[in-house]
């Protein structure tokens, strides 16, 4: 039999609701931590590094540049990066905690932080640009909040799923483990 995960411990049995004993193979801690760290790094790139570079890019155009074009965003980048780091850490923690009953609560907390992250962008989703010339000026305001709000749909669904999982782990401890970590 091939092990599902590298150097995984031997299968464990857990009682299912219909009284059967189902086997599952808990992933080894090194494997859990490795994937957890990788997920954290990926999330960190997406939720913190990208906003940081956007902030740096906008910094080149803010104020009066030599080209006469000025670009300004209302986004609170520092808060966004901080929240992105928290979100990334929670993403890794969620993966590491998946075999435990902390999975649901961490997942739910991550979803709450993600809602905050999305709302922080949506409430400040305005990009302004102004071009000045000798006989006048043109200012452009780009509002993309409608786009950002749409991402709340997926996050809200994930939040409900997390609540159900947290409840399941309290009501039927270990019930989901044979399905999350089946013995192959």
């Amino acid at each position: 039999m091939t092990a599902a995960y590298p150097s995984s411990p031997p299968p464990t049995l857990v009682s299912s609701p219909d009284g059967a004993w189902l086997p599952f193979r808990r992933p080894s801690p090194p494997w859990l931590y490795t994937v957890g760290v990788l997920k954290t790094l990926w999330s960190l790139f997406f939720f913190a590094v990208v906003p940081y570079f956007v902030f740096q890019l906008l910094g080149h155009f803010s104020g009066s540049s030599s080209s006469g074009i000025s670009v300004h965003s209302d986004l609170p980048f520092q808060a966004l990066i901080d929240l992105g780091i928290v979100l990334s850490l929670l993403t890794g923690a969620r993966h590491i905690a998946k075999p435990t009953r902390w999975f649901g609560p961490i997942w739910f907390f991550r979803a709450v932080v993600k809602v905050g992250y999305v709302l922080l962008i949506a409430w400040n989703a305005i990009l302004m640009a102004s071009i000045g010339f000798s006989s006048g000026s043109v200012s452009i305001m780009f509002d993309y909040s409608g786009t950002i709000y749409l991402f709340l749909i997926g996050t809200a669904l994930a939040m409900i799923a997390a609540l159900i999982t947290a409840y399941e782990d309290v009501k039927y401890p270990g019930e989901r483990l044979p399905f999350d970590y089946p013995v192959k």
Partner: protein, 225 residues
Amino acid sequence: MNTYYPYGRPPKPRLYRISRYLRWASVLATVLVFVYIVLAIFSLVVYHPTFTFYGSGSGGGSPFGSCANQTRGGSGSANACGFNVTNPGWFPLTLQAAFSIHEVNGPLLAHGSTPLVTIAPSTSENVALSLEFLALPSNNSTYVASGWINGSYASLFSLTITISLNGKFSFSPGTPVVTHARGGLSNPAFVKVPSSGPPLNHGDQCGNLQSPMRRSYALSERMGR
């Protein structure tokens, strides 16, 4: 205890299934949102809306040009000038525009606006431009023309462009032409100002300027004498 499973494996618990379906729905919703945004951007870039000015008067090509030389009350009705918007894209486009011209440290000379219009995908629509001229400019006066246009596409993006232009009126009024000579103090007259002047000369409601005139064009007063 041995339990018989008809499909060779135990059925997934109910809560587990609900949670998993919700998670799939969450991922699917996020993917669909991405697809929707990408389609909207693609549609906007490839099939971008086009604008052409229309008006029954001569000198088309600009809203003022096409509105020039129209007669008030005749062809210069509410829809006499404006612009035609074609939306060949896949998503609705909502538009509204307004503008004003005022003298620096002086009166508001003119203003205009369009109604809030939604142009359905793959259609085109005439957007009427309502113009109102309130006063004539003084010669050698400085004016500020401000334009504002707001458009939103697919209910996702909204773009607001504000244009502010400074200029100077410099023209010789010449001899006003009386087109409706019912002079007198209580009977306002209609005058036509040469259309070679600044945009304001092109008239009220896409037509001629209406008295009672202010400043040096108080023709009705002169005719009453």
